[in-house]
Amino acid sequence: MLILTCPYCGVACDETELSAGGEAHLTRHGPGSSDGEFEDYLFMRENPRGVHFERWRHVYGCGKWFHAARSTATLEVFGTYSAQVLIPPDDIRAAVSAKVPGWQWRDLT
């Protein structure tokens, strides 16, 4: 059972209290973008075996969206953080790098 701490209410929620929202930090493309960019935004996914950043929603709690950094290979949770950021904050990156030496991922900026 996956347990994530909601960064807003501070509650350690088991996953039945949460709703999974898929990959985080996608670059949004709208009108005026190319077919390729739109395809990328809508369908292409990183789907890594290892460190992953995701959107989750505390549906049966405060109802807010937040972010989580997790390993899809071990199910370890590295941390959760606010939804109001475009890239993972430094403390989360540091926590990931400490646990997974040599970790590299696509440019999130």
Partner: protein
């Protein structure tokens, strides 16, 4: 390799079964093959088999990081049906189902195909309309299905409670030639034939890199050294994203866990397969007597082959309402597999941005039923560059917005 037959069994019975030979050989990898297939699941093995049988390409290696059929092919609940909504799906799934009909004869290996009939229950008004529509579509596609009422459902499956308080059974989509088969036997049967044709089925050989020159694939790196090839087929289900990353392209795929469980064996009580998509549960009885049960996928990406327990609880809770008699059954085992899910819930059988590299993936929660048809089409695509069975399933459909949308049509679909 000796032929399996009633005479062979009799002959061996008279000599203490000393004469059986290994079903497939375990050779060392050669330096180079015409075709390398990554992944010895059902789809990879069937692709290799039809490359040899239909196209005469036999200098082929199938590389498997674990053991034969140890991926989703050996973990699924073996439902076979072809009552999909969209034309391209009906074509490839019905091709597969019809190949299953005499696969045991073709492979000289008993895959125990059991066309006992599959029913998909309608438990809401919406589902009634949906399944009637599918039945009409199937009639036009030449796939034999029919919409049946609740009395017929009860007649076909007497252990079902059709007047449940929350989810009464209002009718069902019935495919009388759908059913099940023995999953391991499908992998073993194809592997044995591939080996007999001179192909190398190489287990314990993990692909760790894809090598290319000038945008063209030239070979792979593996845990047992580099191996060259002219053409490469990537057929690794849940690991497709990982392999695509090695080959330098991205896929519209998410890997998530799907679980199943079996009960203690009980006397025969149910001789059809029942799927209840509204409540996310389905059940059949194996030849050993176990009730084989499955449900929905987890909502988050996962490569660990372990799923969340609450899905099992939900599935069992829903099924107990429809099958009250299972409430006292003990469950013996549960397990998970990592399934490769696409945005439109349809598979990808396609060329890739890397020349001579082909991919077959995205079967998600429902690819066991498709193994023979998928292998047939994929082999044609790899050998000739085009297959009518696979042409609608190309990667470019996501860019072009030409989806084969089965998610709306089928909900949970195994």
């Amino acid at each position: 390799m000796s032929r399996y037959s009633v005479f062979a069994v009799a002959r061996e019975a008279f000599r203490d079964h000393q004469g059986w030979t290994r079903a497939w050989s375990s050779p060392e990898p050669k330096r180079k093959y015409d075709v390398i297939i990554i992944g010895a699941g059902g789809h990879g093995l069937a692709t290799a088999y039809y490359l040899g049988k239909n196209h005469g390409i036999r200098n082929v290696a199938i590389l498997e990081k674990g053991w034969l059929g140890g991926g989703n092919t050996g973990r699924n609940t073996t439902i076979i049906r072809s009552n999909y909504l969209q034309d391209p799906s009906a074509a490839i799934y019905e091709k597969a189902r019809s190949l299953y009909e005499d696969l045991s004869q073709d492979l000289n290996y008993n895959v125990m195909f059991s066309p006992r009939g599959v029913m998909m229950l309608a438990q809401t008004e919406h589902e009634i309309r949906g399944y009637k529509r599918t039945a009409h579509a199937n009639a036009l596609q030449g796939v034999k299905t029919e919409y049946i009422g609740p009395e017929r459902v009860k007649q076909l499956c007497p252990i079902m409670e059709i007047r449940g308080p929350r989810y009464p059974v209002l009718g069902a989509l019935w495919q009388s030639r759908g059913g099940t088969a023995r999953h391991d036997a499908v992998a073993w049967g194809y592997a044995r034939k591939c080996s007999e044709m001179g192909m190398d089925v190489i287990q314990q050989c993990e692909v760790t890199g894809v090598r290319s020159e000038g945008g063209k694939v030239v070979g792979v790196s593996t845990s047992r050294g580099d191996i060259d090839c002219d053409k490469l087929g990537v057929v690794v289900a849940g690991h497709s994203g990982h392999l695509a990353d090695m080959a330098g392209f991205r896929l519209p795929i998410e890997s998530v866990a799907l679980q199943a469980l079996v009960s203690e064996p009980i006397k025969p009580c149910m001789d059809v397969v029942v799927m209840a998509n509204t409540v996310h549960g389905y059940m059949s009885q194996s030849d050993k007597g176990e009730m084989v049960i499955g449900g929905g996928t987890d909502g988050y990406n996962n490569y660990t082959q372990r799923g969340s327990f609450h899905h099992i609880e939900e599935t069992v809770r829903a099924l107990v309402e429809t099958f009250p008699m299972i409430s006292r059954l003990k469950m013996l085992r549960k397990w998970g597999g990592i399934v490769d899910v696409t945005g439109d819930r349809s598979p990808i059988l396609s060329k890739t941005p890397l020349e001579n590299c082909f991919i077959n993936c995205g079967w998600g929660t429902g690819g066991f039923k498709a193994i023979p048809g998928s292998g047939w089409g994929m082999a044609e695509l790899m050998a000739t560059g085009h297959s009518p069975l696979t042409e609608s399933f190309g990667l470019e459909r996501f860019k072009e917005g030409r989806f084969i949308d089965e998610s709306v049509a089928a909900g949970v679909a195994h």
